[in-house]
Structures are given as structure tokens and as C-alpha cells.
């Protein structure tokens, strides 16, 4: 939950708040949990909603938007190269819309199936598929320097 929260809200301090609010929300809603989904899916759904709520409250997301320009000459992967790539991926994720970031993180980092994601985000499976496709296209565009 914490790892997903950090990626959703963009910083550890806010992620801690979101996880705490998630656990408090889960505690309050424990009686309403009808075991129609796994506990992980249920908690992830609360976390994603808390992160979205947090986003609306803060009216800000990550300071992303501009992808760092790669070095003119590609060098062999090094610690610095890996760090640059990681930073570029983080910035690219930050540049996505919240809806696109959610599906990318749930699929690529959490390994959820489309059905699980549909349950977490309360949208039809077809919406998940189309959002994920558009999000990945956006990421390809943002990270094209690393994909050549």
C-alpha cells in the first residue's frame, strides 16, 4: 500500500497520510466489507480513493511535466544512467493524468488483472483497457528517447 501511495501522490510524507487515512477508512468500513473481493483489492480501492481525495484537497500533484533531455551520446548503462532513467520514468509517470497513472501503476507495479483494476476503480473492464492503452501511448511518447 505504501509503495503504491508514494507513486500515486508523489512524496513519502503525503503517502504516509494517505496510508493512514486508508487504514482508518478500512477500519470504519470493516462491517460493510462483504468479501466480494479480496482484502487487497478492497484496501487498494480505498487507497486509490484516498489518494484522489488527497489530490483534490492539495490541488497539486508531482512537479512533473518536462522530460529531461537525454545525453547526446548514449553511454553504457551505469549507476548514473540508471538513475537518470529512473528519474525520467518518474517524471513521465507524473506527467500522466491521475486516471492514466492509476491504471499504469495498478497494472505495472501491482500486477493486477483487468478485472481487479475494474473492481478497484469501479469502472467497466473496457474502460480499463482503453485507459491503459492511451496511458501507455503517452508514456511511449514521453520516454521515446529511451525506447530507440
Amino acid at each position: 500500500l505504501y509503495g503504491l501511495a508514494v507513486n500515486l501522490v508523489g512524496n513519502p510524507a503525503d503517502a504516509e497520510d494517505v496510508v493512514q487515512e486508508t487504514l482508518a477508512g478500512a477500519f470504519r468500513g470493516l462491517r460493510a466489507f462483504r468479501h466480494e473481493s479480496s482484502v487487497k483489492t478492497w484496501l487498494t480501492r480505498i487507497l486509490v480513493r484516498q489518494a484522489a481525495h488527497h489530490h483534490r484537497r492539495q490541488r497539486r500533484y508531482w512537479p512533473g511535466g518536462v522530460i529531461a533531455q537525454p545525453a547526446p551520446e548514449r553511454v553504457a548503462p551505469s549507476d548514473q544512467g540508471r538513475a537518470d532513467l529512473r528519474m525520467d520514468v518518474e517524471i513521465a509517470l507524473a506527467a500522466l493524468s491521475p486516471e492514466h497513472r492509476q491504471v499504469v501503476l495498478l497494472r505495472e507495479l501491482e500486477g493486477m488483472t483487468y478485472e481487479q483494476m475494474a473492481a478497484v476503480l469501479a469502472v467497466p473492464r473496457g474502460t480499463i483497457e482503453s485507459r491503459l492503452f492511451r496511458a501507455r501511448r503517452h508514456l511511449q511518447e514521453l520516454l521515446k528517447e529511451h525506447l530507440t
Partner: protein
């Protein structure tokens, strides 16, 4: 960017979320569509990049704070319930006090001895210029009773 109209199915194929028969059909399409094949490769590249991202680890002090917060949750629920009950009790108390105060003020008015009673038990009344004392007393009684009828 790949303009093939079949491209929107690439994600489902890439994620293994396509039924077997559709998968075979889409693989036939991929063999004939270099655009989709190239986009599939880029999609795999993005997945590899994202998979290489380190998972944020929760620092021990954050974990400790969360444990404390979770331990605090049941007590917080009890406190919330106690606060709600106290608020309800306070409202009931205020309403009762207002009701008692209004009853007391109404009773206070009724408790004032009417003029005819004062006249009946008090000093002898002076002789009126026109009419006897009984007539004056009867007038006060009628006045008092009609006042009560209006306020009951």
C-alpha cells in the same frame, strides 16, 4: 504513431488479457502489421522500464507511526461515539431547561392572586359610586376568568 485501428487491442494482448481465439487472430494481424508490431515492442520496453523502478520501502519510523495510529483507531471510535452521545444529551438538557423555564414563567403569571381573590380575603372594599361591592367583585371575577380562558 501507429495509426492502425487494431492498435487499441495491443494492451490487452500485451497483458495476456485476450481470450485464446482472439489472441490467435491478433497474432495473425501482428504478422502483417509492422506498425502494431513496433508499438508492441515499445510497450514491452515501457513495461521493462516501469518494472525496473524500485519499490518505495516504508521507513521503520513511518511503520511505527502507522502502528500507533492503528492502535489508536478503536479508541478514536469510542471517543467519537461518546462525543456524539454527549452532544445528544446536551441538546436534550437544553430543550428540557427551555421547557421548564417557559412552564415556570406561565405558572408565575397564573400564581399571581387575582384581584377578586385579593378583594375577597383582604381589606373591605370601598363602596363604589354606582353599584354595590358584590357587583364590583363579580365584575373582577368575570374579568379574571375571561383572562384565563384566553391563556389556557
Amino acid at each position: 504513431m501507429n495509426a492502425c485501428e487494431q492498435a487499441s487491442r495491443l494492451s490487452a494482448y500485451h497483458d495476456g488479457e485476450m481470450p485464446f481465439d482472439l489472441r490467435l487472430q491478433f497474432e495473425r494481424h501482428l504478422r502483417q502489421c509492422p506498425g502494431c508490431l513496433a508499438e508492441l515492442e515499445r510497450m514491452r520496453g515501457v513495461t521493462l522500464m516501469l518494472g525496473g523502478m524500485p519499490r518505495p520501502e516504508m521507513p521503520p519510523e513511518v511503520l511505527q507511526r502507522l502502528h500507533q495510529a492503528v492502535d489508536f483507531l478503536p479508541a478514536a471510535g469510542v471517543r467519537r461515539m461518546a462525543a456524539a452521545l454527549a452532544a445528544v444529551a446536551a441538546i436534550i438538557l437544553v430543550v428540557c431547561m427551555i421547557g421548564l423555564a417557559s412552564q415556570a414563567s406561565a405558572g408565575g403569571t397564573a400564581g399571581v392572586m387575582p384581584v377578586w381573590e385579593s378583594a375577597a380575603v383582604g381589606q373591605p372594599l370601598p363602596e363604589p359610586a354606582s353599584g354595590g361591592a358584590e357587583e364590583l367583585l363579580a365584575g373582577w371575577m368575570v374579568q379574571d376568568l375571561s383572562w384565563r380562558d384566553r391563556h389556557d
